[in-house]
Point group: C2
DNA sequence: ATTATGATTTAGTGTATCCTAAACTATATA
DNA sequence: TATATAGTTTAGGATACACTAAATCATAAT
């Protein structure tokens, strides 16, 4: 029996599974064994076993050979974890001068050890931020989350002007590269051209007044929102 | 196999055992199975099992039916954990307005999840403090620790003037009570009298200009240092 | 020297989480 | 419709860490 920290407290693995499942569902994809396994870097049989346990605990509904859906309780926990993670990331960057590529790994561990009180105090010290350093929305204490409408950069037609909204937070090297291009959430740029066959995307950085070329895979991971054309 | 955070990383239980063993040894007591069991609130057979594992991993030397001694490696880890714990406690109090009775429980969990970088950044933000909120010394990054010479209040003769140096950090209710008396590390008072048969201790708080009476058990947990009599 | 007592270890379990290898299911394709 | 393939689950095993009950050891008191 593990010591209860807060109202919820389900162990490191369980909490990470619920987050992963939430993210898959949020992306519209069904949360299948294999996708969860890939997201968490765990073997598929292990995921099958954990799904059994999650299901027994009423955190997911499982349709064998299909995938899982979060129950209300499961979603509640997932959103609480997302809040913890993102508050922690923001705090580490703002108050402790962590670089934006280092915060994810640190938050991935702290999220399971921090009490609700700690998260609440950090949020307060930050002025209750609504987005984390990578542009992801931070759920409120009551579990509300705003999901800005965005498009992957690969789906923005040439000629359009966009604001970068979200960059994935997983890969430190990728984040350092993105930063080196002058890109981060909030930056405005024009899409100049797309090369076919999953080729690179050319963009024009408005503030920096310079062109950059991004590989297809990188562009796929950048979520943007379109800006109305100016007159 | 657990993911490696830093150079060291031995799992929550292992780290807590090493801290407990260090504290027992530091108090001069041999680190016996039962004392460890009592400190960690774990059954003696469980401790026996863990001692086997610690010994196999070269963290302690075990003399069956006698007790354990930390190896150099074990001591290194224990001091690193003590540093983490105490930096965290201090940070929570100074920067996040935690009360001094709440920091211990929080640090007890965070100490296993925080990276060396995080601890270093917190220490820096605090100006590399040398003592935690309960008066315990904070080991340096290289593992040095200063141990002020102190006496339990129960051993201070009547008539002597002392400064309170260390109060234990475990029991929140006790800490709140101590605080309500106007006591905390750094406070100066005179020992007025001791009642025999483990009776109460009467003290005179110099700054507050008031008397207080402390139970024997409480007095036993207050570490003081004597002040030279003034001329 | 013997025995009572308390401390310690051993034996046997249980839970959570991971793994690989093998079996099974769903489905797309021929 | 039969089968190949990809995805999933089952079977069997490992590790870390906790527990209770029983056996063993050390030692202090008779
Ligand atoms: Mn995590
Ligand atoms: Mn993030
Ligand atoms: Mn701890
Ligand atoms: Mn302390």
């Amino acid at each position: 029996m593990t010591a209860q920290i807060n109202s919820i407290d389900l162990g490191v693995s369980t909490e990470d599974y619920l987050k992963a499942i939430y993210k898959l569902e949020a992306h519209g994809q069904p949360a299948q064994t294999t996708s969860i396994a890939e997201a968490l870097q765990i073997s598929a049989p292990s995921v099958s076993g954990m799904i059994k346990r999650l299901s027994d605990n009423g955190l997911v509904e499982h349709q064998p050979y299909k995938g899982v859906h979060l129950t209300d309780e499961g979603r509640r926990v997932a959103l609480a974890m997302l809040r913890r993670h993102r508050i922690l990331e923001t705090y580490l960057m703002e108050k402790l001068k962590f670089s934006w590529d280092a915060v994810h790994a640190e938050a991935e561990r702290l999220e399971h050890a921090a009490s609700d009180l700690l998260i609440q105090r950090m949020a307060l010290a930050l002025g209750n931020p609504r987005f984390d350093p990578h542009g992801d929305p931070i759920p409120t204490e009551s579990g509300e989350i705003e999901t800005p409408l965005t498009v992957a950069l690969t789906d923005v037609p040439a000629g359009k002007r966009v604001v970068l909204v979200v960059v994935g937070d997983q890969d430190p090297a990728r984040l350092r590269f993105i930063e080196s291009l002058g890109l981060k959430p909030g930056v405005t740029f024009d899409v100049v051209s797309h090369q076919p066959f999953r080729g690179p995307v050319e963009i024009w950085l408005v503030a920096d007044r310079k062109n950059e070329v991004l590989g297809h895979e990188l562009a796929l991971s950048l979520q943007c929102s379109l800006i109305e054309e100016e007159a």
